[in-house]
Amino acid sequence: MSEPVSSIRVNVRLFARLKDIVGTGELARRAPLGATARTVWETMVSEFAELGNYEGSISVAVNEEYSRMDAPVADGDEVAFLPPVSGG
């Protein structure tokens, strides 16, 4: 007997300064059904307030593709938050 699914689990990836703030570059978090990338970000900010400084400057990728904060996320998705880039 399986219970109705009411939440999903996503793998959160963080890079550069965001990784330093949280102390790890990879962690799992639960989100409600119907969650978007923004829901996941808000969960992270509520846990790690300093991430809030990046509210206006992060990019998001879902399953290794650039995405948008309003994109829906599904169970098992990898959601990556990227501070402004500085390659080259």
Partner: protein, 163 residues
């Protein structure tokens, strides 16, 4: 040995391999290269008045490779070129190459413009970060908010490249 046109690696970069990757002569029906340009980015000993000791590059590799592929497609849409783009990750000392680009074209103008366009786009949309270690501390360098769909940024890169 075949060199991949796009790579993210902790190994030392090799410009000859990139040039080889873009230089091959196509079948009789297509016009082959008449010029190859390259760009090599190296670790500078100074940044914003700080004496830089070394850089540590971090990247989101699968997305970086997709971004390279995207930049390659954008470049080919605009200029008649074959391109290669390799970026280094990990700890780099002053003077070491962090990025290499090669562009081959039947005519030099396209090859020069493509190289310049590619490095501008790398700085705009590739998920790679510099962790700068300087005399007295360290700092993550933060440049552009990566948004591949931002057409203004893309147009800026085209303008800088000189059409």
């Amino acid at each position: 040995m075949q060199t991949a046109p796009y790579a993210v690696t902790t190994d030392t970069l090799n410009l000859e391999a990139l040039i080889h990757a873009v230089a091959s002569t196509p079948p009789d029906t297509a016009v082959g290269p008449g010029g190859i340009t390259s760009f090599v980015g190296v670790v500078r000993n100074e940044n914003a008045g700080r004496r830089v000791l070394r850089l540590e590059y971090e990247g989101y590799e699968p997305l970086a490779l997709r971004a390279f592929d995207r930049i390659g497609t954008e470049t080919a849409d605009h200029w008649n070129v074959r391109v290669a783009l390799h970026h280094r990750l990990g700890t780099l000392q002053i003077g070491e190459a962090s990025v290499m680009i090669a562009a081959a074209s039947p005519h030099r103008a396209d090859a020069f413009a493509a190289c310049r366009y590619i490095i501008e786009r790398v700085k705009q949309i590739v998920p790679i970060w510099k962790h700068e270690f300087f005399e007295g501390g360290d700092v993550w360098i933060e440049g552009a908010t990566a948004d591949p769909d931002d057409d203004t940024a893309r147009q800026d890169a085209i303008r800088v490249a000189g059409e």
